[in-house]
């Protein structure tokens, strides 16, 4: 299935755990340090450097860009480290997250409550994934280097729906199907 980002409620409603999706459009990049700053900004009652309403955040910290390329290698990082911040961002309108790995229960609850979606990209397929990124621009926190907040334009960016708004969980389903005694 091909979808575009920013996401609409109608599109999110069609997504189910286990679906293979290709995303085109705008996605934002933020990992540990940027998330900490975003949430601290909200806590102070200030405006975020970018409007995340309807947007997707990709948990990623690229390798440096070689001359002539758009970006360096750009695979997902472990999402669980952003669990502490994710519900707060969904509360202000974030609609999608891309990463890899397990989410904590409060994040899964927030996905249902705010009708959002968590996608997994293939961890370690970073050179391959970079080919789907057409533009990259640092939007804030440049001094964080690989952890800066970036805006990407992507084309057919391949992901799998892990947690959908209905409570579906592709990790749990997959494991149940293939576990043996």
């Amino acid at each position: 299935m091909k979808i575009t980002s920013p996401l609409t409620d109608e599109v999110i409603a069609t997504l189910h755990a286990g679906d293979r999706v290709e995303i085109s459009g705008t996605i934002y990049v933020a990992r540990d340090a940027a998330h900490k700053r975003l949430v601290e900004t909200l806590d102070r009652g200030e405006k975020l450097p970018v409007d995340l309403t309807g947007q997707i955040v990709y948990y990623m910290g690229p390798s440096p860009t070689k001359p002539g390329n758009v970006i360096g290698s750009a695979g997902p990082t472990t999402s669980g480290r952003m669990d502490r911040y994710a519900p707060r961002l969904m509360e202000i309108g974030l609609k999608g997250m891309i990463g890899k790995g397990l989410r904590a229960q409060p994040v899964k609850d927030a996905i249902k409550k705010y009708k959002t979606v968590y996608f997994a990209a293939t961890g370690g397929a970073a050179a391959l994934i970079a080919q789907r990124i057409k533009k990259a621009q640092v939007m804030a926190y440049e001094e964080l280097g690989a952890e800066a907040l970036q805006k990407l334009e992507v084309e057919d960016f391949p992901v799998i729906v892990v947690n959908d708004m209905y409570g579906g969980d592709a990790y749990e389903d997959g494991k149940k199907q293939y576990a043996r005694k």
Binding site: S63, G72, K100, G101, T122, G123, A127, G174, Q177
Partner: protein, 281 residues
């Protein structure tokens, strides 16, 4: 006494850092190919095909295998009859990491302090250096760029001697079960049994420097590796945790003598981007 220059060490470490991040070992590639054949889950097969494509792109030299080009874990075997001239061993290694990661466009992932001063050192130093003095007049260097995602799944169990073999199997399997999709399966699981707490953890990591497909030379431990691998792959976690037959490509066990009261078990998980390169000077 044989002599080498510290600058040779720096150049070698810099070269190995770049090579390790672009060229996955033939043993791991072969294991991924075999996994793609065996894997029953269509999504798992697709993930493995993507990883093999990724290996080919990284080889061309423009993009490293993974954006997480790791902490530079450097294992050193220093012959006691070798003299290093023109600088210190550790400083030469750090300088090599600095050079390789900077000139090679590799990601700098080290912060100087763990809490409020989490400031990036901007050159990926310091390296994590493990030095062993050995007979001879050679210097053997191995660099293993170790990603944070898989390293975070490490665990130490101070088991009781009475827990025995089954206790080890239960402990390790539980660690991998809990890690789920986090460490980028299919993984290689390093297990260090015996020694002290710190030694068991190092053995677990050091075991990852053995080629995939080469079992522990002692039958007791190679059979433990086999049984652990079967248990782990029966968890059903599969490639990238989406369900499947192949959760790990291999389990590597290393053992050491320990106290009569102890049975430490260290677990160090390596992602499918199981990178390391070595050289002898």
């Amino acid at each position: 006494m044989r002599e080498i220059q510290a600058s040779q060490i720096t150049e070698t470490v810099a070269r190995l850092a770049v090579e390790a991040n672009h060229f996955l070992g033939d043993d791991v590639v072969a294991a991924l190919r075999k996994a793609r054949e065996i894997e029953e889950s269509p999504q798992g097969k697709d993930v493995l095909a993507q990883l093999l494509k990724n290996v080919d792109i990284a080889k061309e030299g423009s993009f490293p295998l993974c954006q997480d080009t790791g902490v530079a874990v450097v294992s050193v075997e220093l012959g006691q009859e070798l003299h290093i001239a023109g600088g210190g061993l550790n400083e030469a290694i750090h300088a090599g990491v600095r050079k390789g990661y900077t000139e090679g466009f590799l990601r700098k992932s080290m912060v100087g302090q763990p809490f409020s001063k989490r400031v990036n050192s901007k050159d990926n130093t310091p390296a994590m250096i493990h030095t062993e003095i050995v007979p001879g007049d050679k210097l053997h260097l191995t660099i293993m760029p170790k990603g944070g995602g898989c390293e975070n799944m490490s665990a130490l169990g101070m088991l009781k001697p009475a827990d025995g073999r089954q206790g080890v199997i239960d402990f390790v399997t539980n660690v991998i079960d809990k890690a789920g999709s986090n460490p980028c399966p299919p993984t290689i699981v390093g297990v260090g049994i015996g020694g002290s707490a710190d030694q068991a953890m190092w053995l677990a990591k050091k075991s990852l420097l053995r080629p995939v497909g080469q079992p522990n030379p002692e039958e007791e431990y190679s059979s433990l590796e086999k049984d652990l691998l079967e248990k782990i792959n029966n968890l059903g976690i599969g490639p990238m945790g989406l369900g499947g037959r192949i959760t790990s490509l291999a389990v590597h066990v290393l053992v050491a003598p320990c106290h009569i009261a102890s049975m430490p078990v260290g677990v160090n998980v390596q992602c499918h981007s199981a990178r390391y390169k070595e050289a002898t000077l």
